[in-house]
């Protein structure tokens, strides 16, 4: 016995039963009819029975299954059952069923023999549903202000999303058409959804969907259709959704076409257009029982990274800096998924760039490809036409190639142009550990002319070159450290920067540590560069424990002193004045001040100055750090010859900011007339 024949038998029995009690159901007539089970494709009703007790009719269904979802103990109670000819009418009926369907007011008229009728279900406060079955095999369904929560009756997993809003739908099924066809138009107003943790939610959503489908050509009835060809178009015009951590405002359209068959859904072609971002085209095949993606391909040919970056990439990839990032350029992307394998993703960037406003750094524009075939490997090949910049430092364009294997990135040798030199990175590898990203490699700087570099750094134009060799570069969470040194050929000497470490380089607490040493720098070249007045001679420089926070010195122990050896040692009147301005009152005594009026320069035996900067105070000492004069002063320049002139400091502890402001003044528009 087939399901259809059983169904027919049930209907015939119902019609016979109805005919037997033609007219208003008499109060004295009590009857009960067990119909048994009915089966339709996707629908099953078990233990169906009808009773008439004291004029009240009740239809009971022990179990109703739509798809795989069962409802138990449904009952339709009709106090006003009217039987007229071969039709059955229920007025002021009441549906008893598990939530959310229960509590509905029911009215229906049904003529089993003619297979016509209409049904109206009204849920107080949750909308209504009206269905009409016409004699020509046309079923129309009209839903108004329907609470989407009612849909969880048919789609139980939807309950976890707590759907809300008001849904209007008009559906028309033409079962007599050849082939059978269905059309629907639905609109959701003020819709929303929310998971309990709030990580997936939508509010004030306005959506419209137009849907049509027709049975496969060979189908003569809805029941024997092997499959359905469908088309849909939808628009999301209002509201916003949050899919952690991405917030998306309204503005998207979806159009799709495909097939629905026994246990499968095929999306032959779909296009999703997101306002301001671009379009995504794709196709897919899904198994419905259980739900699984068998195959999926999607491709976006022209995405605007300025919008996509702000809305999606920044929250996903760099959430801590999401508000400080600007993206630009275009991208194309293709994703493929097959047979339960990890997805394969390919991205093409065109003139793409990213800028961190607070850190004043950026990369790009870049053009190239990123490929993740889905086997745990990946490859990146980019041409950074605009290179990169960090503050005033601008790097030229360069190609970059890298491979990904699991969570290890191997970067091919890089040569990043910097002025007339280049920063080179060799053997750079980055890998992820529990504590964060680690890295190792080698780096070097091909000699860069100092004039350009010093100008970019806002320093006086310096002659010379800068180069570096770092045989070991180490990257750890919050730290980049290098072994090796930067060598700067400047002032006819060599200055070396070693022990370089960048701590928390991308955070508000960023600082750097280094050691600096130089021998036999030409003081004449140095002082001329800084408009300080002229001091001829040579000096050795040591800066230990240098710490730069916000790229300003906050701690160091520095010492400058005359280099050993024979060389000309003269200090100009202007330089003495500058030192006086630096040291504050009392640096040059009254007798010596008078000498300044008559001589342009003075000989000196040696000079020495040290500063230990700690907590914003520079603790100073002179040529002999351990020696204290009776008057408490310390000699910075020890004079020689006639006239002999000593420059003596008396303020051993000077506020660092005050000292810097004095230095700015003396190297600015000329020394103030502090020493007359």
């Amino acid at each position: 016995m087939t399901a259809i024949s059983l169904c027919r038998r049930g209907l015939v029995a119902a019609a016979a039963w109805a005919a037997a009690i033609s007219g208003p159901a008499p109060a004295a007539l009590n009857a009960e009819l067990a119909i048994g089970s009915l089966r339709y494709p996707g629908v099953a009703l078990d233990d169906l029975s009808v009773s008439l007790v004291d004029g009240v009719a009740e239809l009971r269904i022990a179990e109703l299954r739509l798809g795989n979802h069962p409802w138990r103990e449904l009952a339709l109670r009709c106090p006003g059952l009217v039987v007229s000819g071969a039709s059955l009418a229920c007025r002021d009926g009441h549906l008893r069923a598990p939530a959310p369907l229960g509590g509905a007011a029911v009215d229906f008229v049904f003529s089993p023999a003619a297979a016509t009728g209409n049904l109206r279900l009204t849920w107080p406060g949750s909308g209504s549903l009206a269905a009409e079955l016409g004699g020509a095999g046309v079923l129309t369904v009209r839903a108004r202000d329907l609470d989407p929560a009612l849909l969880t009756a048919a789609l139980p997993p939807l309950a976890a999303w707590n759907p809300a809003g008001a849904l209007d739908c008009d559906l028309r099924l033409d079962a007599a058409a050849q082939p059978p066809a269905v059309t629907a138009h639905c609109a959701l107003r003020g819709g929303g959804f929310a998971t309990a943790d709030g990580l997936r939610a939508g509010e004030q959503l306005d959506l419209t969907i137009d849907f049509s489908a027709e049975a496969s050509a060979e189908a003569s009835t809805v029941a024997n259709a092997a499959g359905w060809r469908w088309h849909m178009a939808g628009e999301w015009s209002n509201g916003a959704i949050y899919l952690h951590p991405v917030y998306l405002p309204a503005g998207a359209q979806l159009a799709a076409t495909g097939d629905l068959g026994d246990g499968y859904l095929r999306v032959a072609e779909a296009e999703l257009a997101v306002d301001g971002v671009g379009s995504l085209r794709g196709n897919a095949a899904l198994d419905l029982q259980p739900l699984a993606v068998r195959r999926l391909e999607a491709e976006a040919s022209d995405l605007d990274l300025a919008v996509l970056g702000r809305l999606v990439l920044a929250p996903l990839l760099l959430p801590a800096s999401a508000d400080d990032l600007d993206f630009r350029g275009r991208a194309a992307a293709r994703v493929r998924l097959a047979g339960g394998q990890p997805p394969a993703l390919a991205v093409q960037l065109r003139e793409a760039g990213i800028e961190h406003r607070v850190l004043d750094m950026g990369v790009g524009p870049a053009t190239g490809t990123l490929d993740w075939p889905g086997d745990g490997t990946g490859a990146l090949a980019l041409r950074l036409g605009g290179g990169a910049h960090w503050r005033g430092l601008r790097f030229g364009g360069f190609p970059v190639r890298a491979g990904l294997n699991g969570e290890r990135v191997t970067v091919e040798p890089l040569a990043i142009p910097l002025f007339d030199g280049a920063l080179r990175l060799d053997g750079l590898e980055l890998w992820r550990e529990d504590s964060g990203w680690q890295g190792a490699g080698r780096a070097s700087i091909d000699p860069i002319s100092l004039p350009e570099l010093s100008a970019a750094a806002g320093l006086p134009i310096l002659g010379g070159t800068l180069g570096a060799d770092f045989p070991h570069v180490r990257v750890a969470p919050g730290e980049i450290a290098v072994d090796g040194e930067i060598g700067i050929e400047v002032f006819d000497g060599r200055l070396r920067v070693s022990g370089l470490r960048l701590i928390e380089p991308f955070g508000v607490g960023a600082y750097a540590r280094a050691e600096i040493a130089a021998e036999r720098l030409d003081l004449g070249l140095l002082t001329d560069s800084f408009d300080f007045g002229s001091i001829s001679g040579r000096v050795d420089v040591r800066v230990r424990d240098l710490e730069l926070a916000g790229w300003r010195p906050v701690r160091f122990a520095a010492r400058i002193e005359s280099s050993p050896g024979r060389y000309r040692r003269r200090i100009s009147q202007r330089a003495v004045q500058s030192l006086g301005a630096l040291g504050g009152p009392g640096v040059v005594n009254a007798i010596q001040r008078s000498a300044l009026r008559f001589f342009d320069s003075f000989g000196y035996r040696r000079l020495g100055w040290s500063c230990v900067l700690e907590s914003g105070v520079c603790a100073m000492a002179g040529v002999e750090p351990e020696k204290r004069r009776d008057d408490g002063g310390f000699v910075i320049v020890e004079g020689r010859g006639i006239p002999a002139l000593d420059v003596v400091g008396y303020n051993r502890r000077v506020d660092w900011k005050v000292l810097l402001s004095r230095l700015n003044r003396v190297t600015g528009a000329g020394a103030p007339a502090m020493v007359q």
Partner: protein, 145 residues
């Protein structure tokens, strides 16, 4: 506004307490009171961020996790248009907290102490959280009474 100032004061109190108070193994070894420009910059950034986070502590959207991080534990308490912003604030706060734990360890000359320092801060953040705020303990999340 006075209430906001009160919570700003609370934050400073918690930070100072965490810096000065003992109780964990790290305290016996590390100087948690140590002061560096980076620590000052980080605590200043955290304090500046606190006013924006404070309403979400009170609503229960945010909670102090047992691992020393701040957690968006119930996003439904945050108005939808603000959720991405609050998530960004939480990420920034956790980045600064991680940097702070590292920097205190570094300033003590023992980078390897950062896990103990993090644990100490986690205990202090939880202990000093006002009534009504959510904290994570061994038994799970609970609202402080």
């Amino acid at each position: 506004m006075n209430r906001m100032r009160g919570f700003g004061f609370w934050l400073v109190l918690v930070l100072l307490s965490a810096l000065t108070a003992g109780g964990a193994a790290a305290q016996a070894q590390a100087d948690l009171e140590i002061d560096t420009p980076a620590i000052r910059a980080l605590t200043a950034a955290m304090k500046a961020r606190h006013d924006a986070l404070e309403p979400h502590y009170r609503s229960g959207a945010l909670g102090q996790a047992a691992n020393g991080d701040l957690v968006l534990r119930d996003a439904s308490q945050v108005p939808l248009p603000q959720r991405a912003k609050v998530n960004a604030l939480v990420a920034a706060e956790n980045a600064d907290r991680a940097a702070l734990y590292r920097e205190i360890a570094r300033a003590n000359g023992h980078s390897e102490w950062q896990d103990e320092i993090r644990a100490t801060f986690a205990e202090r953040f939880i202990a000093r959280a006002p009534a009504g705020w959510w904290v994570e303990r061994a038994g799970g999340w609970e609202r402080k009474k």
